[in-house]
Protein backbone atom coordinates (compact mmCIF):
# COMPACT_ATOMS: atom_id res chain seq x y z
CA UNK A 1 0.00 0.00 0.00
CA UNK A 2 1.38 3.33 -1.06
CA UNK A 3 1.14 6.28 1.26
CA UNK A 4 -1.67 8.71 0.74
CA UNK A 5 -0.52 11.55 -1.47
CA UNK A 6 -1.37 15.02 -0.28
CA UNK A 7 -4.42 16.40 -2.09
CA UNK A 8 -2.80 19.70 -2.96
CA UNK A 9 0.10 17.98 -4.67
CA UNK A 10 -2.28 15.73 -6.53
CA UNK A 11 -4.37 18.68 -7.71
CA UNK A 12 -1.29 20.51 -8.92
CA UNK A 13 -0.02 17.56 -10.95
CA UNK A 14 -3.50 16.93 -12.27
CA UNK A 15 -3.87 20.48 -13.52
CA UNK A 16 -0.41 20.45 -15.06
CA UNK A 17 -0.80 17.15 -16.87
CA UNK A 18 -4.30 17.96 -18.12
CA UNK A 19 -3.00 21.24 -19.56
CA UNK A 20 -0.09 19.59 -21.36
CA UNK A 21 -2.25 16.73 -22.58
CA UNK A 22 -4.82 19.18 -23.89
CA UNK A 23 -2.14 21.11 -25.81
CA UNK A 24 -0.82 17.91 -27.37
CA UNK A 25 -4.29 16.74 -28.24
CA UNK A 26 -5.42 20.16 -29.50
CA UNK A 27 -4.59 19.79 -33.24
CA UNK A 28 -6.66 16.60 -33.35
CA UNK A 29 -9.50 18.20 -31.44
CA UNK A 30 -9.34 21.31 -33.61
CA UNK A 31 -9.54 19.21 -36.76
CA UNK A 32 -12.61 17.40 -35.49
CA UNK A 33 -14.30 20.69 -34.48
CA UNK A 34 -13.48 22.36 -37.79
CA UNK A 35 -15.03 19.47 -39.68
CA UNK A 36 -18.41 20.52 -38.28
CA UNK A 37 -18.08 24.18 -39.28
CA UNK A 38 -19.01 25.96 -42.48
CA UNK A 39 -16.08 26.94 -44.69
CA UNK A 40 -16.57 30.57 -43.65
CA UNK A 41 -16.40 29.78 -39.96
CA UNK A 42 -13.45 27.44 -40.46
CA UNK A 43 -11.19 30.33 -41.43
CA UNK A 44 -12.75 33.05 -39.27
CA UNK A 45 -10.48 35.11 -37.05
CA UNK A 46 -10.82 35.02 -34.13
CA UNK A 47 -11.57 31.31 -34.28
CA UNK A 48 -14.85 29.98 -32.94
CA UNK A 49 -14.65 27.14 -30.48
CA UNK A 50 -17.94 25.51 -29.62
CA UNK A 51 -20.49 28.18 -30.43
CA UNK A 52 -20.90 27.88 -34.17
CA UNK A 53 -23.59 26.39 -36.35
CA UNK A 54 -22.80 22.71 -36.29
CA UNK A 55 -23.20 21.13 -39.70
CA UNK A 56 -22.63 17.72 -41.24
CA UNK A 57 -22.53 19.17 -44.70
CA UNK A 58 -18.76 18.74 -45.12
CA UNK A 59 -18.96 15.02 -44.65
CA UNK A 60 -21.55 14.72 -47.37
CA UNK A 61 -19.53 16.90 -49.75
CA UNK A 62 -16.30 15.01 -49.12
CA UNK A 63 -17.95 11.71 -49.92
CA UNK A 64 -19.59 13.14 -53.02
CA UNK A 65 -16.57 14.93 -54.36
CA UNK A 66 -13.72 12.57 -53.65
CA UNK A 67 -15.38 9.25 -53.01
CA UNK A 68 -14.20 8.72 -49.44
CA UNK A 69 -15.76 5.28 -49.23
CA UNK A 70 -13.67 3.92 -52.06
CA UNK A 71 -10.41 5.05 -50.47
CA UNK A 72 -11.52 3.88 -47.06
CA UNK A 73 -12.36 0.45 -48.45
CA UNK A 74 -8.94 0.34 -50.07
CA UNK A 75 -7.37 1.14 -46.71
CA UNK A 76 -9.36 -1.69 -45.15
CA UNK A 77 -8.40 -4.16 -47.89
CA UNK A 78 -4.73 -3.28 -47.73
CA UNK A 79 -4.53 -3.29 -43.92
CA UNK A 80 -6.50 -6.51 -43.45
CA UNK A 81 -5.09 -8.25 -46.51
CA UNK A 82 -1.48 -7.61 -45.66
CA UNK A 83 -1.96 -8.52 -41.99
CA UNK A 84 -3.79 -11.77 -42.66
CA UNK A 85 -1.37 -12.82 -45.36
CA UNK A 86 1.51 -12.13 -42.99
CA UNK A 87 -0.16 -14.09 -40.16
CA UNK A 88 -0.51 -17.09 -42.42
CA UNK A 89 3.21 -17.50 -42.84
CA UNK A 90 4.23 -15.91 -39.54
CA UNK A 91 2.35 -18.21 -37.16
CA UNK A 92 4.19 -21.40 -38.21
CA UNK A 93 7.48 -19.53 -38.20
CA UNK A 94 6.94 -18.07 -34.74
CA UNK A 95 5.77 -21.46 -33.45
CA UNK A 96 8.91 -23.14 -34.72
CA UNK A 97 11.22 -20.51 -33.30
CA UNK A 98 9.49 -20.45 -29.90
CA UNK A 99 8.99 -24.18 -29.35
CA UNK A 100 11.54 -25.98 -31.50
CA UNK A 101 14.46 -23.57 -31.44
CA UNK A 102 17.69 -24.56 -33.09
CA UNK A 103 21.15 -23.17 -32.60
CA UNK A 104 20.56 -20.38 -35.11
CA UNK A 105 17.09 -19.31 -34.06
CA UNK A 106 18.32 -16.17 -32.34
CA UNK A 107 20.44 -15.17 -35.30
CA UNK A 108 17.46 -15.78 -37.56
CA UNK A 109 15.25 -13.54 -35.44
CA UNK A 110 17.83 -10.80 -35.45
CA UNK A 111 18.26 -11.11 -39.18
CA UNK A 112 14.51 -10.82 -39.72
CA UNK A 113 14.53 -7.70 -37.61
CA UNK A 114 17.39 -6.26 -39.62
CA UNK A 115 15.25 -6.33 -42.77
CA UNK A 116 13.10 -3.76 -41.02
CA UNK A 117 16.07 -1.41 -40.78
CA UNK A 118 16.38 -1.22 -44.53
CA UNK A 119 15.36 2.32 -45.57
CA UNK A 120 12.57 2.17 -48.15
CA UNK A 121 14.34 4.58 -50.48
CA UNK A 122 16.97 1.89 -50.95
CA UNK A 123 14.34 -0.30 -52.59
CA UNK A 124 12.12 2.39 -54.10
CA UNK A 125 13.66 2.57 -57.55
CA UNK A 126 13.81 -1.14 -58.42
CA UNK A 127 10.45 -1.81 -56.85
CA UNK A 128 8.89 1.01 -58.79
CA UNK A 129 10.36 -0.30 -62.05
CA UNK A 130 9.47 -3.93 -61.35
CA UNK A 131 5.94 -2.92 -60.42
CA UNK A 132 5.70 -0.83 -63.57
CA UNK A 133 6.83 -3.71 -65.75
CA UNK A 134 4.61 -6.27 -64.01
CA UNK A 135 1.64 -3.89 -64.15
CA UNK A 136 1.44 -3.97 -60.36
CA UNK A 137 1.53 -0.22 -59.89
CA UNK A 138 -1.70 0.95 -58.29
CA UNK A 139 -2.91 -2.64 -57.79
CA UNK A 140 -4.22 -4.12 -54.56
CA UNK A 141 -2.14 -7.28 -54.88
CA UNK A 142 1.12 -5.44 -55.33
CA UNK A 143 0.72 -3.10 -52.41
CA UNK A 144 -0.62 -5.86 -50.14
CA UNK A 145 2.52 -7.86 -50.79
CA UNK A 146 4.73 -4.88 -50.05
CA UNK A 147 2.89 -4.04 -46.82
CA UNK A 148 2.97 -7.71 -45.83
CA UNK A 149 6.73 -7.90 -46.27
CA UNK A 150 7.15 -4.59 -44.50
CA UNK A 151 5.33 -5.80 -41.39
CA UNK A 152 6.30 -9.47 -41.45
CA UNK A 153 9.32 -9.05 -39.14
CA UNK A 154 7.24 -7.20 -36.55
CA UNK A 155 4.48 -9.80 -36.76
CA UNK A 156 6.84 -12.73 -36.39
CA UNK A 157 8.68 -11.00 -33.60
CA UNK A 158 5.52 -10.13 -31.66
CA UNK A 159 4.03 -13.59 -32.06
CA UNK A 160 7.35 -15.05 -30.95
CA UNK A 161 7.35 -13.04 -27.71
CA UNK A 162 3.74 -14.05 -27.04
CA UNK A 163 4.35 -17.73 -27.85
CA UNK A 164 7.37 -17.71 -25.58
CA UNK A 165 5.05 -17.01 -22.66
CA UNK A 166 3.04 -20.17 -23.30
CA UNK A 167 4.51 -23.04 -21.27
CA UNK A 168 6.04 -25.66 -23.55
CA UNK A 169 4.73 -28.40 -21.25
CA UNK A 170 1.20 -27.75 -22.49
CA UNK A 171 2.25 -28.40 -26.07
CA UNK A 172 4.13 -31.48 -24.93
CA UNK A 173 1.02 -32.66 -23.13
CA UNK A 174 -0.92 -32.40 -26.37
CA UNK A 175 1.81 -34.36 -28.09
CA UNK A 176 1.49 -37.07 -25.44
CA UNK A 177 -2.26 -36.92 -26.04
CA UNK A 178 -1.62 -37.84 -29.65
CA UNK A 179 -2.14 -34.49 -31.38
CA UNK A 180 -0.22 -34.12 -34.63
CA UNK A 181 1.79 -30.92 -35.15
CA UNK A 182 -1.05 -29.42 -37.20
CA UNK A 183 -3.66 -30.25 -34.57
CA UNK A 184 -1.34 -28.99 -31.86
CA UNK A 185 -1.21 -25.64 -33.67
CA UNK A 186 -4.95 -25.43 -34.30
CA UNK A 187 -6.49 -26.88 -31.12
CA UNK A 188 -3.93 -25.97 -28.47
CA UNK A 189 -1.54 -23.20 -29.47
CA UNK A 190 -3.85 -20.95 -31.48
CA UNK A 191 -6.67 -20.75 -28.91
CA UNK A 192 -4.17 -20.04 -26.13
CA UNK A 193 -2.46 -17.41 -28.21
CA UNK A 194 -5.67 -15.63 -29.21
CA UNK A 195 -4.95 -12.51 -27.13
CA UNK A 196 -1.42 -12.29 -28.51
CA UNK A 197 -2.53 -12.87 -32.08
CA UNK A 198 -5.28 -10.26 -31.68
CA UNK A 199 -2.79 -7.69 -30.39
CA UNK A 200 -0.46 -8.44 -33.25
CA UNK A 201 -3.26 -8.01 -35.77
CA UNK A 202 -4.32 -4.75 -34.14
CA UNK A 203 -0.87 -3.21 -34.18
CA UNK A 204 -0.28 -4.23 -37.75
CA UNK A 205 -3.57 -2.87 -38.97
CA UNK A 206 -2.55 0.45 -37.45
CA UNK A 207 0.88 0.37 -39.06
CA UNK A 208 -0.48 -0.66 -42.45
CA UNK A 209 -3.26 1.92 -42.29
CA UNK A 210 -0.84 4.76 -41.66
CA UNK A 211 1.94 3.53 -43.93
CA UNK A 212 2.67 6.46 -46.19
CA UNK A 213 5.80 5.85 -48.15
CA UNK A 214 4.87 2.95 -50.36
CA UNK A 215 1.19 3.86 -50.54
CA UNK A 216 2.14 7.34 -51.77
CA UNK A 217 4.74 6.18 -54.27
CA UNK A 218 3.15 2.99 -55.63
CA UNK A 219 -0.54 3.90 -55.81
CA UNK A 220 -2.39 6.64 -57.62
CA UNK A 221 -6.10 5.89 -57.89
CA UNK A 222 -7.48 2.36 -58.07
CA UNK A 223 -5.69 0.89 -55.08
CA UNK A 224 -5.05 4.20 -53.31
CA UNK A 225 -5.84 4.18 -49.59
CA UNK A 226 -6.70 7.09 -47.32
CA UNK A 227 -3.12 8.34 -47.13
CA UNK A 228 -3.32 9.15 -50.83
CA UNK A 229 -6.86 10.50 -50.41
CA UNK A 230 -5.64 13.07 -47.90
CA UNK A 231 -2.54 13.87 -49.91
CA UNK A 232 -4.83 14.82 -52.79
CA UNK A 233 -6.15 17.63 -50.59
CA UNK A 234 -2.77 19.32 -50.56
CA UNK A 235 -3.30 20.65 -54.06
CA UNK A 236 -4.41 24.32 -54.03
CA UNK A 237 -7.86 23.76 -55.44
CA UNK A 238 -8.59 21.32 -52.64
CA UNK A 239 -7.96 23.78 -49.87
CA UNK A 240 -11.26 24.01 -48.12
CA UNK A 241 -10.46 23.61 -44.49
CA UNK A 242 -13.78 22.40 -43.24
CA UNK A 243 -13.80 19.71 -45.89
CA UNK A 244 -10.15 18.90 -45.35
CA UNK A 245 -10.99 18.49 -41.65
CA UNK A 246 -13.92 16.25 -42.39
CA UNK A 247 -11.77 14.09 -44.65
CA UNK A 248 -9.00 13.98 -42.05
CA UNK A 249 -11.38 13.09 -39.25
CA UNK A 250 -12.72 10.21 -41.27
CA UNK A 251 -9.23 9.05 -42.14
CA UNK A 252 -7.91 8.98 -38.58
CA UNK A 253 -10.98 8.14 -36.53
CA UNK A 254 -10.98 4.35 -36.98
CA UNK A 255 -7.30 4.01 -36.21
CA UNK A 256 -7.46 6.42 -33.28
CA UNK A 257 -10.06 4.17 -31.69
CA UNK A 258 -8.11 0.99 -32.42
CA UNK A 259 -4.92 2.66 -31.27
CA UNK A 260 -6.35 3.65 -27.93
CA UNK A 261 -7.19 0.01 -27.32
CA UNK A 262 -3.79 -1.15 -28.48
CA UNK A 263 -1.48 1.06 -26.41
CA UNK A 264 0.17 -1.79 -24.51
CA UNK A 265 0.69 -3.94 -27.58
CA UNK A 266 2.09 -0.97 -29.38
CA UNK A 267 4.87 -0.60 -26.85
CA UNK A 268 5.72 -4.25 -27.02
CA UNK A 269 5.50 -4.49 -30.80
CA UNK A 270 7.47 -1.38 -31.63
CA UNK A 271 10.25 -2.10 -29.18
CA UNK A 272 10.46 -5.72 -30.31
CA UNK A 273 9.75 -6.92 -26.80
CA UNK A 274 12.53 -4.86 -25.22
CA UNK A 275 10.00 -2.89 -23.16
CA UNK A 276 6.85 -4.58 -21.86
Amino acid sequence: MARAVSTRRKLFFTALSWTIAFLIFFPVLWTVLTSFKTEGEAVSIPPTFLFFDWTLENYAVVQERSDYVKFAMNSVYLALGSTLLALLIAIPAAWAMAFAPGKRTKDLLMWMLSTKMMPPVGALIPLYLVFRDLKLLDSHVGIIIVLMLLNLPIIIWMLYTYFKEIPGEILEASRMDGASIGKELIYVLAPMAVPGIASTVLLNIILAWNESFWTLTLTTKDAAPLTQFIASYSSPEGLFWAKLSAASTMAIAPILVLGWFAQKQLVRGLTFGAVK
Partner: protein
Protein backbone atom coordinates in the same frame (compact mmCIF):
# COMPACT_ATOMS: atom_id res chain seq x y z
CA UNK B 1 1.27 -55.22 -19.54
CA UNK B 2 3.67 -52.40 -19.00
CA UNK B 3 7.31 -53.26 -18.78
CA UNK B 4 9.95 -50.74 -19.74
CA UNK B 5 13.59 -51.46 -20.33
CA UNK B 6 16.33 -48.93 -20.88
CA UNK B 7 19.37 -50.30 -22.64
CA UNK B 8 22.50 -48.20 -22.40
CA UNK B 9 20.45 -45.01 -22.81
CA UNK B 10 22.65 -42.01 -23.46
CA UNK B 11 21.67 -38.36 -23.80
CA UNK B 12 23.90 -35.41 -24.61
CA UNK B 13 23.09 -31.85 -25.67
CA UNK B 14 26.09 -31.07 -27.83
CA UNK B 15 29.08 -31.22 -25.48
CA UNK B 16 27.02 -31.47 -22.31
CA UNK B 17 26.43 -35.09 -21.37
CA UNK B 18 23.25 -35.36 -19.31
CA UNK B 19 23.01 -39.13 -19.08
CA UNK B 20 26.20 -41.03 -19.86
CA UNK B 21 24.53 -44.43 -20.16
CA UNK B 22 21.69 -45.90 -18.15
CA UNK B 23 20.34 -49.45 -17.92
CA UNK B 24 17.12 -50.20 -16.11
CA UNK B 25 14.35 -52.79 -16.11
CA UNK B 26 10.93 -51.64 -14.92
CA UNK B 27 8.49 -54.47 -14.17
CA UNK B 28 4.82 -54.53 -15.00
CA UNK B 29 2.65 -52.86 -12.36
CA UNK B 30 5.62 -51.51 -10.49
CA UNK B 31 5.67 -48.07 -8.84
CA UNK B 32 9.15 -46.82 -9.50
CA UNK B 33 10.53 -43.49 -8.35
CA UNK B 34 13.46 -41.59 -9.87
CA UNK B 35 14.99 -39.45 -7.18
CA UNK B 36 18.00 -37.20 -6.99
CA UNK B 37 19.03 -33.58 -6.52
CA UNK B 38 18.05 -31.04 -9.18
CA UNK B 39 20.10 -31.37 -12.34
CA UNK B 40 20.76 -35.08 -11.82
CA UNK B 41 19.02 -36.02 -15.08
CA UNK B 42 15.93 -37.65 -13.58
CA UNK B 43 13.50 -35.50 -15.57
CA UNK B 44 15.49 -35.96 -18.75
CA UNK B 45 15.36 -39.73 -18.25
CA UNK B 46 11.58 -39.54 -17.87
CA UNK B 47 11.25 -37.37 -20.98
CA UNK B 48 13.36 -39.86 -22.92
CA UNK B 49 10.94 -42.61 -21.91
CA UNK B 50 8.02 -40.35 -22.90
CA UNK B 51 9.58 -39.64 -26.28
CA UNK B 52 9.69 -35.90 -25.73
CA UNK B 53 13.45 -36.00 -26.25
CA UNK B 54 15.54 -38.01 -28.68
CA UNK B 55 18.11 -40.51 -27.42
CA UNK B 56 21.68 -39.81 -28.38
CA UNK B 57 22.25 -43.55 -28.38
CA UNK B 58 20.83 -46.67 -26.77
CA UNK B 59 17.42 -48.25 -26.84
CA UNK B 60 14.11 -48.03 -25.03
CA UNK B 61 11.77 -51.02 -25.06
CA UNK B 62 8.17 -50.94 -23.91
CA UNK B 63 6.62 -54.37 -23.51
CA UNK B 64 9.61 -55.74 -25.35
CA UNK B 65 9.03 -53.54 -28.37
CA UNK B 66 11.67 -51.08 -29.47
CA UNK B 67 10.08 -47.60 -29.24
CA UNK B 68 13.28 -45.59 -29.57
CA UNK B 69 12.04 -43.89 -32.75
CA UNK B 70 8.31 -43.99 -31.99
CA UNK B 71 6.64 -40.59 -31.41
CA UNK B 72 5.31 -39.90 -27.90
CA UNK B 73 1.65 -40.47 -28.64
CA UNK B 74 2.25 -43.91 -30.12
CA UNK B 75 4.12 -45.28 -27.11
CA UNK B 76 0.96 -45.94 -25.10
CA UNK B 77 2.11 -43.80 -22.20
CA UNK B 78 0.48 -40.95 -20.32
CA UNK B 79 2.25 -38.18 -18.49
CA UNK B 80 1.40 -35.84 -15.64
CA UNK B 81 3.49 -32.69 -15.80
CA UNK B 82 4.92 -30.59 -13.00
CA UNK B 83 2.87 -27.55 -14.06
CA UNK B 84 -0.10 -29.86 -14.82
CA UNK B 85 -0.03 -28.45 -18.39
CA UNK B 86 -3.81 -28.29 -18.57
CA UNK B 87 -5.22 -26.66 -21.68
CA UNK B 88 -6.38 -23.33 -20.24
CA UNK B 89 -9.00 -22.67 -22.91
CA UNK B 90 -10.77 -26.01 -22.52
CA UNK B 91 -13.22 -27.12 -19.86
CA UNK B 92 -12.21 -29.90 -17.50
CA UNK B 93 -14.31 -32.27 -19.58
CA UNK B 94 -12.50 -31.35 -22.78
CA UNK B 95 -9.13 -31.47 -21.11
CA UNK B 96 -9.76 -35.04 -20.07
CA UNK B 97 -11.33 -35.95 -23.41
CA UNK B 98 -8.73 -34.33 -25.66
CA UNK B 99 -6.49 -37.36 -26.03
CA UNK B 100 -9.47 -39.60 -26.77
CA UNK B 101 -10.74 -37.17 -29.41
CA UNK B 102 -7.34 -37.13 -31.00
CA UNK B 103 -7.48 -40.91 -31.11
CA UNK B 104 -10.80 -40.64 -32.95
CA UNK B 105 -12.89 -42.40 -30.34
CA UNK B 106 -16.71 -42.16 -30.76
CA UNK B 107 -18.33 -39.44 -28.66
CA UNK B 108 -20.48 -41.76 -26.56
CA UNK B 109 -17.44 -43.80 -25.53
CA UNK B 110 -15.57 -40.64 -24.67
CA UNK B 111 -18.42 -39.39 -22.48
CA UNK B 112 -18.58 -42.68 -20.63
CA UNK B 113 -14.84 -42.74 -19.99
CA UNK B 114 -14.74 -39.12 -18.88
CA UNK B 115 -17.64 -39.71 -16.50
CA UNK B 116 -15.90 -42.72 -15.00
CA UNK B 117 -12.60 -40.91 -14.54
CA UNK B 118 -14.38 -37.90 -13.06
CA UNK B 119 -16.14 -40.14 -10.56
CA UNK B 120 -12.89 -41.83 -9.57
CA UNK B 121 -11.17 -38.50 -9.01
CA UNK B 122 -14.09 -36.58 -7.43
CA UNK B 123 -14.27 -34.19 -10.36
CA UNK B 124 -17.86 -34.84 -11.43
CA UNK B 125 -19.06 -31.43 -10.20
CA UNK B 126 -16.32 -29.51 -11.99
CA UNK B 127 -16.49 -30.91 -15.50
CA UNK B 128 -17.74 -27.71 -17.09
CA UNK B 129 -15.23 -25.43 -15.36
CA UNK B 130 -12.06 -24.02 -16.83
CA UNK B 131 -8.74 -24.94 -15.21
CA UNK B 132 -8.25 -21.42 -13.83
CA UNK B 133 -11.40 -21.85 -11.75
CA UNK B 134 -9.95 -24.84 -9.92
CA UNK B 135 -7.71 -25.14 -6.88
CA UNK B 136 -4.21 -26.57 -7.14
CA UNK B 137 -5.31 -30.00 -5.93
CA UNK B 138 -8.22 -30.11 -8.36
CA UNK B 139 -5.98 -29.18 -11.27
CA UNK B 140 -3.67 -31.96 -10.25
CA UNK B 141 -6.58 -34.38 -10.34
CA UNK B 142 -7.61 -33.19 -13.80
CA UNK B 143 -4.08 -33.82 -15.02
CA UNK B 144 -4.27 -37.32 -13.59
CA UNK B 145 -7.73 -37.79 -15.09
CA UNK B 146 -6.39 -36.85 -18.47
CA UNK B 147 -3.80 -39.56 -18.05
CA UNK B 148 -6.03 -42.39 -16.81
CA UNK B 149 -8.78 -42.16 -19.46
CA UNK B 150 -6.29 -43.20 -22.08
CA UNK B 151 -5.62 -46.47 -20.22
CA UNK B 152 -1.92 -46.26 -20.87
CA UNK B 153 0.57 -49.06 -20.40
CA UNK B 154 2.44 -46.85 -18.04
CA UNK B 155 2.01 -43.52 -16.23
CA UNK B 156 4.80 -41.01 -16.09
CA UNK B 157 4.80 -38.37 -13.34
CA UNK B 158 7.19 -35.42 -13.51
CA UNK B 159 7.41 -33.92 -10.01
CA UNK B 160 3.62 -33.69 -9.91
CA UNK B 161 3.32 -32.53 -6.30
CA UNK B 162 5.99 -29.87 -6.17
CA UNK B 163 3.52 -27.02 -6.83
CA UNK B 164 1.19 -27.97 -3.98
CA UNK B 165 1.36 -26.83 -0.38
CA UNK B 166 2.60 -29.24 2.24
CA UNK B 167 -0.76 -30.49 3.56
CA UNK B 168 -2.21 -31.04 0.09
CA UNK B 169 0.95 -32.82 -0.97
CA UNK B 170 0.45 -35.48 1.71
CA UNK B 171 -3.17 -36.01 0.60
CA UNK B 172 -2.32 -36.25 -3.09
CA UNK B 173 0.50 -38.65 -2.28
CA UNK B 174 -1.99 -41.01 -0.71
CA UNK B 175 -4.42 -40.56 -3.60
CA UNK B 176 -1.80 -41.44 -6.18
CA UNK B 177 -0.80 -44.52 -4.21
CA UNK B 178 -4.42 -45.63 -4.00
CA UNK B 179 -4.80 -45.02 -7.71
CA UNK B 180 -1.81 -47.23 -8.31
CA UNK B 181 -3.43 -50.04 -6.34
CA UNK B 182 -6.75 -49.59 -8.18
CA UNK B 183 -5.34 -49.44 -11.68
CA UNK B 184 -2.52 -51.87 -11.13
CA UNK B 185 -0.56 -50.01 -13.81
CA UNK B 186 3.12 -49.32 -14.08
CA UNK B 187 4.04 -45.87 -12.79
CA UNK B 188 7.28 -43.99 -13.15
CA UNK B 189 7.48 -41.07 -10.80
CA UNK B 190 10.13 -38.36 -10.67
CA UNK B 191 10.76 -36.33 -7.52
CA UNK B 192 13.56 -34.56 -5.72
CA UNK B 193 11.88 -35.25 -2.39
CA UNK B 194 13.27 -38.38 -0.79
CA UNK B 195 10.29 -38.57 1.58
CA UNK B 196 7.98 -38.96 -1.41
CA UNK B 197 10.32 -41.55 -2.83
CA UNK B 198 10.47 -43.55 0.42
CA UNK B 199 6.74 -43.51 1.05
CA UNK B 200 5.48 -44.22 -2.46
CA UNK B 201 7.95 -46.42 -4.27
CA UNK B 202 8.11 -50.14 -4.80
CA UNK B 203 11.62 -49.48 -6.01
CA UNK B 204 13.68 -46.32 -5.95
CA UNK B 205 16.22 -45.31 -8.57
CA UNK B 206 18.72 -42.84 -7.14
CA UNK B 207 20.37 -40.67 -9.76
CA UNK B 208 23.45 -38.53 -9.39
CA UNK B 209 24.92 -36.53 -12.25
CA UNK B 210 23.10 -38.66 -14.78
CA UNK B 211 24.37 -41.93 -13.35
CA UNK B 212 22.13 -44.48 -11.65
CA UNK B 213 23.75 -44.78 -8.22
CA UNK B 214 21.53 -47.49 -6.84
CA UNK B 215 18.24 -49.24 -7.48
CA UNK B 216 16.31 -50.95 -4.74
CA UNK B 217 13.35 -51.00 -2.40
CA UNK B 218 13.09 -48.08 0.03
CA UNK B 219 14.29 -50.14 2.97
CA UNK B 220 17.15 -51.61 0.94
CA UNK B 221 18.40 -48.15 0.19
CA UNK B 222 17.89 -47.05 3.74
CA UNK B 223 19.65 -49.98 5.31
CA UNK B 224 22.23 -50.80 2.67
CA UNK B 225 23.23 -47.71 0.74
CA UNK B 226 26.05 -48.65 -1.61
CA UNK B 227 27.59 -45.20 -1.77
CA UNK B 228 28.13 -42.10 0.31
CA UNK B 229 25.78 -40.25 -2.04
CA UNK B 230 22.84 -42.59 -1.48
CA UNK B 231 23.58 -42.74 2.24
CA UNK B 232 23.44 -38.96 2.47
CA UNK B 233 20.45 -38.54 0.20
CA UNK B 234 18.04 -41.11 1.64
CA UNK B 235 16.76 -40.61 5.16
CA UNK B 236 15.67 -37.60 7.15
CA UNK B 237 17.37 -36.17 9.08
CA UNK B 238 20.42 -37.08 7.06
CA UNK B 239 22.85 -39.78 7.97
CA UNK B 240 25.94 -38.49 9.82
CA UNK B 241 29.02 -38.87 7.63
CA UNK B 242 32.31 -38.80 9.45
CA UNK B 243 35.76 -38.87 7.92
CA UNK B 244 39.23 -38.47 9.35
CA UNK B 245 40.68 -40.19 12.43
CA UNK B 246 37.33 -41.51 13.68
CA UNK B 247 36.73 -43.21 10.28
CA UNK B 248 40.26 -44.60 10.16
CA UNK B 249 39.57 -46.35 13.46
CA UNK B 250 36.97 -48.33 11.53
CA UNK B 251 39.38 -48.82 8.60
CA UNK B 252 37.34 -46.68 6.21
CA UNK B 253 37.73 -43.32 4.48
CA UNK B 254 34.25 -42.30 5.58
CA UNK B 255 31.80 -43.84 7.96
CA UNK B 256 28.10 -43.17 8.13
CA UNK B 257 25.76 -43.56 11.08
CA UNK B 258 22.11 -42.56 11.22
CA UNK B 259 20.88 -40.28 14.05
CA UNK B 260 18.73 -43.08 15.46
CA UNK B 261 21.72 -45.38 15.77
CA UNK B 262 23.63 -43.15 18.13
CA UNK B 263 22.97 -43.66 21.83
CA UNK B 264 23.35 -41.01 24.53
CA UNK B 265 25.55 -42.44 27.27
CA UNK B 266 26.52 -41.11 30.69
CA UNK B 267 30.23 -41.77 30.22
CA UNK B 268 32.55 -43.60 27.83
CA UNK B 269 31.13 -44.05 24.32
CA UNK B 270 32.82 -43.53 21.00
CA UNK B 271 32.98 -39.75 20.97
CA UNK B 272 32.34 -36.87 23.35
CA UNK B 273 30.68 -33.61 22.43
CA UNK B 274 28.61 -30.61 23.42
CA UNK B 275 24.99 -29.99 22.53
CA UNK B 276 24.72 -26.98 20.20
CA UNK B 277 21.03 -27.01 19.38
CA UNK B 278 17.97 -29.12 20.11
CA UNK B 279 14.94 -29.57 17.83
CA UNK B 280 11.83 -30.86 19.58
CA UNK B 281 9.37 -32.60 17.29
CA UNK B 282 7.23 -33.99 20.13
CA UNK B 283 7.74 -37.65 19.29
CA UNK B 284 11.48 -37.24 19.01
CA UNK B 285 14.13 -34.66 19.73
CA UNK B 286 17.06 -34.12 17.43
CA UNK B 287 20.26 -32.90 19.01
CA UNK B 288 22.97 -31.18 17.08
CA UNK B 289 26.16 -32.12 18.82
CA UNK B 290 29.58 -30.64 18.28
CA UNK B 291 31.72 -33.75 18.57
CA UNK B 292 35.24 -32.39 18.11
CA UNK B 293 37.13 -34.18 15.39
CA UNK B 294 34.02 -36.16 14.38
CA UNK B 295 32.43 -32.90 13.34
CA UNK B 296 28.85 -31.94 13.95
CA UNK B 297 26.54 -34.91 14.46
CA UNK B 298 22.76 -35.23 14.58
CA UNK B 299 21.47 -37.54 17.28
CA UNK B 300 17.96 -38.74 17.87
CA UNK B 301 16.77 -38.59 21.46
CA UNK B 302 13.37 -39.28 23.08
CA UNK B 303 10.69 -36.60 22.74
CA UNK B 304 10.95 -35.62 26.38
CA UNK B 305 14.73 -35.27 26.39
CA UNK B 306 15.73 -32.39 28.63
CA UNK B 307 19.34 -31.67 27.64
CA UNK B 308 20.11 -28.03 26.98
CA UNK B 309 22.61 -26.43 24.60
CA UNK B 310 26.03 -26.30 26.18
CA UNK B 311 25.62 -29.58 27.98
CA UNK B 312 28.34 -32.20 27.47
CA UNK B 313 27.28 -35.63 26.17
CA UNK B 314 28.90 -38.97 25.38
CA UNK B 315 27.79 -40.71 22.20
CA UNK B 316 27.84 -44.44 21.54
CA UNK B 317 27.59 -45.78 17.98
CA UNK B 318 25.62 -48.96 17.27
CA UNK B 319 28.50 -51.04 15.83
CA UNK B 320 26.20 -53.16 13.63
CA UNK B 321 24.76 -50.05 12.02
CA UNK B 322 27.92 -48.31 10.97
CA UNK B 323 28.27 -47.95 7.21
CA UNK B 324 31.84 -47.93 5.91
CA UNK B 325 32.87 -46.28 2.63
CA UNK B 326 36.15 -46.16 0.75
CA UNK B 327 37.82 -43.04 -0.58
CA UNK B 328 35.78 -43.30 -3.81
CA UNK B 329 32.58 -43.13 -1.76
CA UNK B 330 31.75 -46.80 -2.46
CA UNK B 331 30.56 -49.02 0.34
CA UNK B 332 33.04 -51.45 1.99
CA UNK B 333 31.70 -54.87 2.76
Amino acid sequence: MGTISLKNVRKAFGEAVIIPGADLEIKDGEFIVFVGPSGCGKSTLLRLIAGLEDLTSGQILIDGEDVTDVPPAKRGLAMVFQSYALYPHMSVRNNIAFGLKMAGMPKSDIDAKVAKAAATLNLADYLERKPRQLSGGQRQRVAIGRAIVRQPKCFLFDEPLSNLDAALRVNMRVEIMQLHQQLDATMVYVTHDQVEAMTMADRIVVLNKGIIEQVGSPLDLYNKPNSVFVAGFIGSPKMNLISGAVAVKHTAATIGIRPEHIALLGTGGDVQGTIVLTEHLGSDSFLHVDAGEAGRLTVRAPGDYLGKPGQAVSLGFDKARIHRFDSQGKVLV
